[in-house]
Subunit: 247 residues, 3 copies
């Protein structure tokens, strides 16, 4: 049919960042009901993963996939679920390295708007130079040697930045606990189909305190937010990781 | 050069959801010509796949990749190509599970705008509780057992939701024919590079009535909408599926 | 907390296409500092890859991932780094085939705005019908035979379009040098995790004049723009390509 596309686009843009259940209903009563019954009233209330963890997993998946449409409400849910503003600041910074710089930047406008409304200023955010967490020099030397051997010949710059910016800086920033930081990384990898890198980071997450029961529930949670196919690719990897570790 | 970025962004946002051929021409006369000659006047008129099927494939690819820029015009084309409003409602709902919840939600504003302009109300949309299609209990028991064996130990919740929400609910909703539903799934998988999952769903699509000639033309269609690399990853898988089946 | 999401979304949309360092700072002082110190003052000034090449790599990654948020500033940086308007036109057209049609279209509004501000009109853009670069008939016959053998049976249409539109048209368009065109393709493949296709195109890029030192620096550059995981998937492939070639 003849349709003035330009006329309707204004209202579309206005709706993109704040969909209501009523908007969804106008298109699919079933999708609205699944959203309410399966996600809000069921998934988020399952035991095994706290609402706090679920909001970290959800935000990590949204940022990893640049799904700006859900960021505003989920930043809000995170604050209501005991994620501190300082932690949200790190949850947006961390994916710059693990998902891509634009992914991190895509979350800035939404979080800035939330911080402005809540009166959260620079004094409540983690600074640039912090007393970093202690480095396990032996483990780091081993990791650096492995990366050097695999990538040194073809990606000298990556190897150097990996040491300087990631393992001796970002990952030691204290404003997000190592376990929560690992939760962001693992969620982002699964949500963006980075199967090859899950083993290393799931092991690291387990070292940092993520339990197998929680990891399992992360998969369940991500089925909804990253789609079944991404999640169905992860269990073989997770099985291998879990098999070789004590419960 | 010095450029006031803030000044020009308004017009960019206004253009994002309704590009015209003239907009494309202002940037690349070649791209505008390819769009007109190779896609509109050639690809869409190829035999082997109806305009109706092509609009389903296109929308599935756009939703799987959150490419909101094309949704408005292609929802319109779908309605003009005998896709019913009730089917569009399901075509947006289905990817919530196969691409991710935000993917489905990203399509809501565009489809809502189209429905409003066309006067399509709740009475024309599939309800929440429907008389579901009959379930093949034997095949479902076999599938559930396979998934339980592969994923049960590490993703208990996923296994349960897969049975309850997908195979005993979504996939039996009658408002989209099983063959068309499979077309949505297969298109989404190819368009988002989910190579590992194509075999199962292409087999299922063939069971549901998608012919090999149609599947081949789906690949051709997706080359343009999902890019050559995603499509070049699919033929080895498709070859295996086709080889083991009668024509 | 109770938050009027509709109220704040206007300002979010306005910020999406033109983030400033101050916007980033309001959310994460660390991210703003990384952006300034690690990217602007360090990465872009590394030897081994010119600012011109870096802007081509960056834009290719943004388009391959539909990251509209950075397009406006980086089109501007490209023009300032000796990328010609006619080359930018091709850099937007090329990904239509290698990333997907909507990916190319997503870049149109930003580039159109830049061209309008700079007074760049149709006379400065590459035309539709150009004197194409000469075709290496022997190499093309070999390529076509290989693709025919691999995909001919299941994707007849793709095979035909690959020959007609890509190898006998797009890739011979003279407005972007073959080496730069390869740089766009390789950057897009790495940035979107298309590992399986890197070998062929990295070989082709090397044939077209991209040095191994430059390719290595492309990986370093993309670590920031496409995330560490995408870049960590590429070195094994690059190692194989480099090992079998003279330096």
């Amino acid at each position: 049919m003849a349709l003035d596309l330009r006329e309707v686009q204004g209202q579309i843009v206005r709706q993109q960042s704040a969909l209501t259940l009523r908007d969804i209903q106008a298109v699919s009563p079933a999708l609205a009901t699944y959203t309410q019954n399966s996600i809000s009233d069921d998934l988020w209330k399952r035991l095994g993963l706290s609402a706090r963890d679920r909001s970290i997993v959800t935000l990590s998946a949204l940022i990893a996939r640049i799904q700006t449409i859900g960021m505003l409400p989920y930043f809000n849910i995170a604050l209501d679920s005991d994620v501190k503003a300082s932690e949200l600041s790190e949850i947006v910074t961390h994916p710059a390295f693990y998902s891509g710089w634009s992914n991190a930047l895509s979350a800035v406008p939404s979080l800035k708007a939330i911080f402005a409304q809540c009166g959260i200023g620079a004094d409540q955010l983690p600074g640039v130079s912090l007393q970093l967490l202690p480095l396990d020099e032996a483990a780091e030397a081993q990791r650096a040697a492995a990366v050097e051997q695999n990538f040194g010949a073809v990606a000298r710059g990556v190897v150097q930045y990996t040491t300087d910016l990631l393992f001796r800086d970002l990952l030691l920033r204290p404003a997000l606990a190592p376990r929560d930081r690992s939760l962001v990384t693992v969620s982002a990898l699964i949500a963006s189909g980075q199967v090859a890198h899950i083993t290393y980071h799931l092991n690291r997450a387990t070292d940092n305190g993520l339990t197998q029961a929680q990891a399992s529930e992360v998969l369940t949670h991500l089925a909804f937010y990253a789609g079944w196919p991404n999640v169905f690719s992860a269990p073989p990897v997770a099985t291998d990781v879990f098999r070789e570790r004590p419960k």
